[in-house]
């Protein structure tokens, strides 16, 4: 009886009138990504799943490999992409990198003026005493990232920035060697992580928000994974 039902169901399925052909798009293929990262990858409202739309393709590709290879830890993400090829992961990265969407207004700053001033100073001047370079030296003067693989730092929630710097500090998040961000996160004083995150999260994203094509000067640190 069960077999008859199952077979009848199968027959019914195959005998159904042909539906109109569905559009075959990348957006369709990556619904698994946008379910958490928001429509077209514009970020979820909870601040946990970051925006992926418009980030440099090289950066997104490096993150996909990092989840696959265990340099970043999120079981759901790793299991999701595990059976994919590198060429398809790159295509997925390029798909989201090419999406241009407006950014939401920044979070209102909730820190003291003193902390915000410290954050601003770290972003533009770094902390030479601790050998921390300025954020802008690698992430671009407009902080929108640099092609092909340096991400922007504006337009991200404070919690996300804090969590990433914290994980880099503890080794929970790693990048390809030499892992320059790990060096920086470990050199930063803990209160300086909060200062940078608070200031960055309160900045509006400049228009256009595209990553810069090049950096004006050589990067102050050696970083892995930046080759196109």
């Amino acid at each position: 009886m069960r077999a008859a039902v199952a077979i009848a169901a199968l027959l019914a399925a195959s005998a159904a009138p042909a539906a109109p052909p569905l559009p075959d798009t990348m957006a369709q293929r990556v619904l698994a990504c946008t379910a958490c990262h928001g429509k077209e990858g514009r970020a979820a409202s909870d601040g946990f799943y970051p925006r992926i739309a418009g980030k440099p393709a090289g950066y997104l590709y490096n993150q996909l490999l990092a989840f696959r290879d265990g340099r970043r830890q999120y079981t759901l993400m790793t299991a999701l992409i595990d059976p994919l090829s590198e060429s398809y992961l790159r295509e997925i990265a390029e798909h989201f990198a090419a999406i241009e969407l407006p950014y939401a207004a920044p979070q209102p700053a909730s820190a003291t003026a003193e902390l915000l001033a410290r954050g601003r100073m770290l972003v533009f001047d770094g902390d030479p005493a601790r050998q921390v370079p300025a954020c802008v030296a690698c992430h671009g003067n407009r902080l929108t990232g640099v092609l092909p693989a340096v991400p922007g730092l504006v337009g991200l929630p404070r919690d996300y920035l804090n969590a990433q710097l914290g994980s880099w500090r503890t080794g929970q998040r790693q990048a390809l060697q030499p892992d320059c961000m790990a060096q920086i996160a470990k050199a930063l004083a803990p209160q300086d992580i909060a200062a940078v995150s608070h200031w960055l999260a309160a900045q509006p994203v400049p228009a256009p928000a595209k990553p810069a094509a090049t950096l004006p000067a050589k990067m102050p640190l050696d970083c892995g994974g930046l080759a196109p």
Partner: protein
């Protein structure tokens, strides 16, 4: 008999048993030559054959750690008895197989005994590999010898006492392991030998042993939360009702008209079976099709309550129907049919729940290089909602599979 006599009989029996264990552990074993012959460069065609066999055996699945160097080991394999760490197979002299002879490698695969004489933990499926031919073992060894040597020390296993002891392993082997000859038929050879399908698709007893290299009656994959469905059951993953081409398509591209692979099998297709040549895939398909079938027709169950079904129906229309069809009929490449899908109807709802919770892309294969992905609903729906929608699809379109409840969902969220 006096007490003394009884004691003597007992001691004698014990000695006999111990002797039997020792003898059974040495069956079909030849001593290794004293000197290790130098490992010369192997011919390119032998290395290529070995590379193919390594894929057929999915050796990298355990011996290449996530993000680690190829075949340098280090992967933690969780078992109910503790954790086993896959060893380094690269030709590094100190930490890998650099100092091994081909005879020692043969003995490891055929007899489950390491070069230093220790018995291997059967987490490495040597009860299957014992069936691999001497020639294929030599090719595999030549391939591993051609890899870059990686200095990476093996991590000692952390099995709970007494499971990791040589005595316990000897007793286990006396009970459950016999060296065997390669099956003559190619499909049986691949399925029961290198392919080690029974390692997941077999049913393990309390001591972690399957019923042999051809035990394909399905079972829970230890520690992973997935169930490997029976390959000899038309209601599970048996292929007796499929054409050979349909089975080949599943192993080669991850999908066919009736099924889509997910979870651990998606990795097997991505890393192993898609790389098999058509002749071997046909042999595997033919062998699986010829298996004596043991149908376990599921018992029809009544559907969940009306309010759960209503919630499930609403969620299905909202979240699932775009890709799986309003009536579960599927939508081509976007999503497989759910109506009549055996993964939906299996008595154990574990896999279905894991697929809904974790989502996932199908395997990227040469035949289907850009697969669609299913969203992970773990972050989007509550336990109540997932239980409702899963119960709904198990009881719609003629289905009569038992509903699931929130505890089932919660258990699968755990790991």
């Amino acid at each position: 008999m006096t007490k003394k006599h009884w004691l003597a009989v007992f001691v004698l029996l014990l000695a006999l048993l111990a002797g039997a264990v020792v003898v059974l552990n040495r069956l079909d074993e030849t001593p290794l030559p004293d000197a290790v012959p130098p490992r010369g460069a192997a011919a390119a065609d032998q290395v290529a054959r070995g590379a193919y066999l390594a894929r057929a055996g999915h050796c990298a699945g355990c011996h290449t750690a996530r993000g680690g160097a190829a075949y340098a080991g280090g992967t933690a394999i969780n078992t109910p008895f503790g954790t086993v760490f896959a060893p380094n197979l690269t030709p590094d002299t100190k930490t890998g197989l650099g100092a091994w002879s081909e005879a020692a490698f043969w003995r490891a695969l055929h007899n489950g005994r390491s070069a230093d004489g220790r018995l291997l933990a059967p987490a490495c499926p040597y009860p299957n590999f014992t069936r691999v031919s001497r020639g294929d073992v030599a090719d595999l060894f030549a391939y591993l010898g051609s890899l870059p040597a990686v200095a990476q020390a093996n991590r000692p296993h952390t099995l709970r006492w007494p499971y990791g002891t040589q005595a316990a392993l000897a007793v286990w082997r006396a009970l459950y392991f016999r060296p065997a000859a390669p099956p003559a038929e190619r499909g049986a050879y691949l399925v029961s030998g290198l392919g080690h399908c029974s390692a997941c698709h077999g049913s393990r007893n309390a001591w972690g042993a399957t019923d042999g290299a051809l035990d394909l009656r399905g079972g829970a994959i230890p520690m992973q939360g997935w169930v490997a469905p029976a390959l000899d059951d038309p209601y599970a993953a048996g292929v007796a009702g499929w054409t050979l081409a349909q089975t080949v398509a599943l192993l080669k591209t991850g999908r066919n008209e009736h099924a889509a692979v997910s979870g651990p099998m998606a990795m097997v297709v991505a890393r192993s079976t898609q790389h098999l040549n058509d002749a071997d895939l046909l042999a595997v398909a033919g062998f699986l099709k010829s298996l004596p079938q043991r149908p376990t027709a599921p018992v029809a169950a009544s559907a969940a309550g009306a309010s759960t079904m209503a919630l499930g129906e609403r969620l299905y229309a909202d979240r699932c129907a775009d890709c799986h069809g309003a009536q579960g009929e599927g939508a081509g490449e976007r999503g497989p049919a759910l109506a009549g899908n055996r993964a939906v109807l299996m008595a154990a709802p574990d896999n279905l729940l894991r697929i809904v919770l974790g989502g996932g892309f199908g395997p990227a294969t040469a035949g289907r290089p850009r697969p669609h992905g299913m969203p992970p609903f773990a972050t989007l729906l509550s336990d109540t909602e997932i239980a409702a929608v899963v119960s709904y699809i198990r009881a719609s379109w003629g289905h009569e599979a038992a509903p699931v409840d929130t505890r089932d969902v919660n258990r699968q969220r755990g790991g």
